[in-house]
């Protein structure tokens, strides 16, 4: 079949049209998508900042030579508010926040694509994890699907030049960058993560769980100093950053950046242990939309329950997880 004449009809879009459309879409990127709740964009924003902040936790070359002696384990959570405008500054500086500090990423184990399973048992077998599940499903929620993200390992190599450039771009010229950071590597080991997604009409809740991630920290590293740099990148002033950094056990605490103004947070009790509840509420199109994220630990397991349930139902569901 001679169809070349049809293939030849293809044309590239007018560059001006392509450029204008892209700019229009880009202008809308600050707006949240049509979601059932708007926690996700806030968290994604927080995540991007957290990535930047988190990457200052690097082993010194000297300590790396001595061997990696310590591991990060999530035991507690602490929320820190940041100005969402800082995220825009970070985005403007570089598209990929993860590479602000690293000039090399080596993937040691690829997690592969996310897999969907019809039952928790199948997912548990695939993840090699005994799943905790909620005994209480409020508002008629039922299991919709179970997803598994596989195990992953990666090693990053730091560049103090990148960090300095970032700090300069943010006009944080008073922050000192430890020289021994340059060329240091940090290894990250992610355990399989399982997400059980429950739905009922417009209500949705996802229970995510994974064994605590492992992040190699060297002996000799000063977590508080590095955490303080991360907090400055988040937008805290020097005094706030120092006070917060000094009050946190950085080896066991997951610091949760919360966009100021868009959310609120408080410490809660889940299963007898401490958890962190972040809630968002806003009016849009004449309706109030709310979302919540609850983080807690059970032994070495980190759990997160996110959804557009009201706070009471979310806590009820989390409390019933066994």
């Amino acid at each position: 079949m001679d169809d070349r004449f049809l293939h030849d009809q293809r044309r590239d879009p007018d560059p001006a049209f392509a450029r204008n459309l892209r700019e229009r879409l880009r202008a809308g990127e600050g707006e949240a998508p049509e979601r059932r709740f708007r926690l996700a964009p806030a968290l994604a924003a927080a995540a991007a900042v957290a990535v930047v902040a988190g990457l200052v936790f690097l082993p010194s070359v000297r300590a790396a030579a001595q061997g990696l002696l310590d591991f990060f384990r999530v035991r507690n959570f602490a929320a820190v508010e940041f100005d969402p405008a800082r995220l825009e500054q970070l985005r403007a500086t570089q598209n990929d926040p993860a590479m602000f500090l690293f000039d090399h990423k080596e993937v040691l184990q690829d997690p592969g694509p996310r897999q969907t399973y019809a039952s928790a048992a199948e997912a548990a077998a695939a993840a090699g994890l005994t799943l905790l599940t909620p005994a209480e499903l409020p508002s008629g929620l039922a299991l919709d699907r179970v997803e598994v993200q596989g195990e992953a390992r990666a090693r990053f190599t730091a560049s103090t030049a990148r960090l300095r450039a970032l700090l300069d771009a943010l006009d944080l010229r008073d922050v000192e960058v430890p020289r021994e950071l340059d060329g240091a590597t940090v290894a990250v080991h992610l355990q399989p993560l399982v997400a059980q997604v429950y739905r009922k009409d417009k209500l949705e809740a996802s229970l995510m769980q994974s064994m605590s991630p492992e992040v190699d920290l060297p002996a000799g590293a000063d977590p508080a100093q590095l955490g303080e740099i991360g907090l400055r990148i988040l937008g805290l002033d020097a005094g706030e950053a120092r006070r917060f950094a000094g009050s946190v056990d950085w080896r066991n605490t997951l610091v949760v950046p919360v966009p100021a103004g868009a959310s609120s947070f408080r410490e809660v009790t889940v299963g007898g242990g401490r958890g962190l509840l972040v809630t968002t509420r806003e009016r849009a199109d004449g309706r109030t939309r709310s979302g919540a994220l609850l983080l807690w630990t059970a032994g070495d397991r980190v759990l997160a329950l996110a959804g557009n349930l009201d706070e009471r139902d979310l806590l009820l569901m989390a409390e019933s997880v066994r």
């Binding site: 079949m1 996700a40 995540a47 936790f57 991630p213």
Partner: protein
């Protein structure tokens, strides 16, 4: 704080799946496909650009619904484009062209006329998906619900007709 890199990267992968997508790269790759899909449907000019823009704007607003484990991005985007095209033709079909009266006068019943129009519509869409959007027959089959064999047969027949008209200078 390094753990945030770990934990958040995974949590947000579920919470904001569209953010995983490299939107810049997807836009660059998919814009010509969507644009040419519409060019094959409505011809050159501002309408094709308008419909392309509507498609991308809809896709962007609904980006949380895109799950790459369920469908390739191009499949998802073209499904939106097909809906946009269908809406466009629905809005502009309220007034039949005068030429349609010829068929009625020639003895076609309204049902026959509708069927003829439906067949032509389907053929135009298959051509647009194949040569505008650059889909394979298999991908077109997935989009349209037709069998791959059926897609191949219909396209072969349509292209042969178009080829003949092209050779006669009628296109």
């Amino acid at each position: 704080m390094a753990s945030e890199l770990v934990v958040y990267s995974r949590l947000t992968a579920w919470l904001a799946p569209a953010r995983e997508a490299d939107w810049e790269a997807l836009y660059a790759a998919q814009l010509p496909r969507v644009y040419n899909f519409f060019r094959f449907r409505v011809g050159d000019g501002p309408v094709a650009e308008d419909l392309t823009a509507i498609t991308f704007e809809k896709a962007w607003r609904a980006r949380h619904r895109y799950r790459r484990d369920l469908a390739a991005f191009s499949t998802w985007l073209l499904a939106i484009a097909r809906n946009v095209a269908a809406d466009h033709f629905r809005r502009h079909r309220e007034h039949l062209p005068l030429a349609a009266a010829e068929h009625v006068a020639a003895g076609d019943t309204p049902a026959e006329l509708a069927e003829r129009r439906s067949d032509e519509e389907r053929e135009r869409e298959l051509v647009a998906l194949k040569y505008g959007a650059g889909l394979t027959n298999r991908a077109i089959a997935r989009q349209t619900g037709l069998s791959e064999t059926n897609v191949g047969t219909l396209l072969h027949r349509t292209v042969r007709t178009l080829r003949a008209r092209w050779d006669e200078g009628g296109l």
